[in-house]
């Protein structure tokens, strides 16, 4: 049995179910309790779990992320919410230098089972400081796992898996997609971290993407279908570890790939995927892997500049045709 649920409510269910199941799980962040979350993801959770387990913090990202790390080292399972990942930058010291390294530098004496979560990516005309994606930043760090997914059902299962995971997990959501509704199964289920999903099957070209870029990518696949081109669409869901097999298997079938990634091109997720494919599926490729990224610039406020900056269906179609050598 499935029902329709918005992404924010699916995430809420994931956290609430895990908190009912495990006393050591708690939620901490700015405006998560009394305000019900800046984007209402934690709505009602203070009422159900009380202020011991749903905790409003001051604006002190470095401090409360570090408190999360310490708590995780000492037997709790914190969920640390960042209002957006842009503000988590202040906490990167604790995420990168501590959460990610606890297991290694203590040679296994201590684990750090913690979830850092919040929205990543652009969200309308919010300008330079409020529009960045952080998947590749965090995925660069050994010791961390990185999830980035806006499908409500999958996001729920992945967040539950992340909370139960004994390693630190960064979960990237989307401000613009919190209200996005889709079918979510009833009852208990987990989604395995590290597995991509095929959102549309196809034979001519593989379009790989994640987070909210799934929407322009599916739109592009539809446009391509109208021209007789069959595109396979893969939603990564997890960035680290990358589902190497799903990508290679798809290219073996389609022989062509375009990566659609809202983050910047330099040393990003798209660069990593292109490397993997040329290394492990070189003989299957009929064209170089190409990519559609955000522009290699900061994102300004004006609508014309937002339009020029972001990937969209038209840009994806063009890249796909280039890969198919169909551009005049």
């Amino acid at each position: 049995m499935a029902r329709k649920l918005a992404l924010r409510d699916a995430l809420n269910e994931a956290m609430s179910e895990e908190m009912r199941r495990d006393e050591t799980v708690f939620l901490m962040g700015e405006e998560v309790a009394e305000y019900n979350g800046a984007y209402k993801v934690s709505k009602g959770m203070l009422d159900e779990f009380g202020p011991k387990r749903v905790i409003d913090t001051p604006i002190a990202e470095l401090g409360f992320a570090g408190i999360g790390v310490g708590a995780a080292m000492n037997g709790l399972r914190p969920i640390v919410e960042f209002m957006t990942w842009n503000f988590a930058v202040l906490a990167f010291d604790q995420i990168v230098n501590n959460a990610a390294k606890t297991l290694s530098q203590s040679a296994g004496e201590f684990q750090c089972p913690i979830v850092f979560r919040g929205p990543s990516g652009s969200a309308g005309q919010l300008a330079q400081q409020h529009s960045q994606t952080f998947e590749s930043w965090m995925a660069n760090v050994p010791g961390l796992k990185v999830i980035s997914c806006v499908d409500p059902a999958d996001a729920k299962g992945l967040l539950k898996a992340a909370i139960r995971d004994n390693d630190p997990v960064c979960m990237m959501e989307s401000e613009m997609m919190y209200g996005y509704e889709a079918e979510v199964p009833e009852g208990e289920y987990l989604v395995e971290i590290g597995k991509a999903a095929v959102r549309r099957e196809g034979t001519d070209i593989t379009l790989v993407t994640f987070n909210k870029m799934i929407f322009p990518t599916l739109e592009a696949a539809e446009l391509l279908a109208k021209e007789g081109i069959s595109a396979e669409v893969i939603d990564l869901r997890t960035i680290r570890p990358l589902d190497h097999k799903a990508l290679v298997d798809s290219v073996k079938k389609t022989n062509r790939m375009v990566v659609i990634d809202e983050s910047w091109p330099f040393a990003g997720v798209s660069a990593e995927i292109a490397y993997e494919i040329q290394k492990y599926a070189f003989d299957y490729l009929d064209a170089p892997v190409t990519r559609v990224n955000a522009a290699d610039t900061s994102l300004p406020y004006a609508p014309t500049l937002v339009e020029a900056y972001l990937p969209n269906a038209a840009k994806i179609v063009e890249a796909a045709k280039e890969t198919l050598y169909l551009n005049a």
């Binding site: 009394e34 001051p58 400081q129 406020y301 004006a302 500049l305």
Partner: protein, 349 residues
């Protein structure tokens, strides 16, 4: 006998007056009135245009806090620097930034103060020594300290006013900055605009130290509380602080108690506070109180004030027209101003 009568009339006048005796010149009062009225009308219009979706993104207004900008500007010099957070339209207008350019920025037009690149949170103007609106809470505390550091390094007697909210005061960067500023006698004036809330979180819910001026005391920094609904009070405190700083004594810290009448941003219904609380502050509205002081003490006539109001209303109308008629930046502007290097080799797949 005659002089006795005079004293009697004088007495009657003062008791009748609801505000205290004016301590400043007519020009000063009218300047405050005009600036506060400009900020108020600018933002009221901005909110209206936001409703019409002409303005997008985050939009945080300063309505209720205008006396801070007014009293501060009159007490510092144009060469002094200012840096603040994203609730910054009033601060920029206080610096003398062009009303047209500020309105066009909200519209994202290329005639905007930063060519439509920053929007509501990010005005900047080197000409006005305005180092911007910062969107990362607390980031400007060390940055303002550094701007002041540079003034000292260059041997000027300018200072940098570093403004932040009560919420920002909880960032660790405040402590690091306070410490270095005191240790190195940096000419920085820290102003916390304590409007009682950081989004939906009241000051009381963020700390057991709710009197924010006390945070300076841990570093032996001169620290005071100021009534932020009064341009006179702000002016007096900032003057005192500026004098201390310019004499080479290092930083000063003012907790200016104020209030934002509207929600945190356009999207916040502000259900976390009562109507009565908001009304209490509106009763002490800085613009109304200043108007009353001016009229009660016959500093200027109602007609003179009306003239100012009409001038400002015309100015705002003109600014909206200017913004509406301006063009959006061309897509090519995306590649400009990312590097100073003109031929930087961007990745363009």
């Amino acid at each position: 006998m005659e002089s006795g009568m005079d004293t009697a009339t004088e007495k009657k006048k003062t008791t009748k007056s609801r505000s205290k005796k004016p301590a400043y010149s007519k020009e000063q009062y009218l300047e405050w009135y005009e600036l506060m009225f400009r900020i108020r009308k600018f933002e009221e219009r901005a909110l209206m245009m936001y409703g019409q979706q002409k303005i997008r993104g985050f939009c945080h207004v300063y309505i209720g806090q205008e006396a801070v900008a007014a009293g501060m500007e009159s007490a510092i010099r144009k060469e002094d620097a200012i840096v603040t957070a994203y609730r910054q339209h009033g601060t920029a207008l206080g610096r003398g930034c062009d009303t047209n350019a500020c309105m066009a920025e909200l519209y994202g037009k290329k005639t905007g103060i930063v060519k439509g690149k920053g929007g509501s949170m990010h005005f900047f103007s080197a000409e006005h020594r305005y180092f911007g609106g910062n969107g990362i809470v607390g980031a400007q505390i060390p940055i303002g300290t550094g701007i002041a550091f540079a003034e000292k390094y260059k041997g000027t007697d300018n200072l940098c006013v570093t403004m932040f909210g009560d919420g920002a005061a909880r960032q660790g960067a405040l402590h690091e900055s306070f410490n270095m500023a005191m240790a190195w006698k940096i000419p920085v004036l820290y102003i916390v605009e304590n409007n009682g809330y950081a989004m939906g979180t009241s000051v009381e819910r963020t700390s057991n130290v709710t009197e924010l001026y006390k945070m300076g005391l841990a570093y032996d920094m001169p620290s005071e509380v100021v009534d932020g609904m009064s341009p006179e009070a702000v002016h007096e405190a900032v003057s005192r602080a500026a004098e201390h700083i310019r004499a080479g004594n290092g930083p000063y810290y003012l907790e200016i108690r104020t209030y934002r009448y509207k929600g945190h941003s356009v999207s916040d219904p502000a259900k976390y506070r009562t109507k009565e609380e908001v009304q209490q502050y509106k009763d002490r509205d800085p613009i109304k109180i200043t108007e009353q002081t001016i009229l009660d003490h016959k500093i200027a006539t109602a007609e003179e004030l009306k003239e100012i109001e009409n001038k400002i209303k015309e100015e705002i109308k003109e600014a909206v027209k200017f913004a509406e008629e301006s063009e959006f930046p061309d897509a090519s502007a995306l590649w400009e101003e990312n590097y100073v290097q003109a031929d930087y080799p961007f990745i363009k797949d």
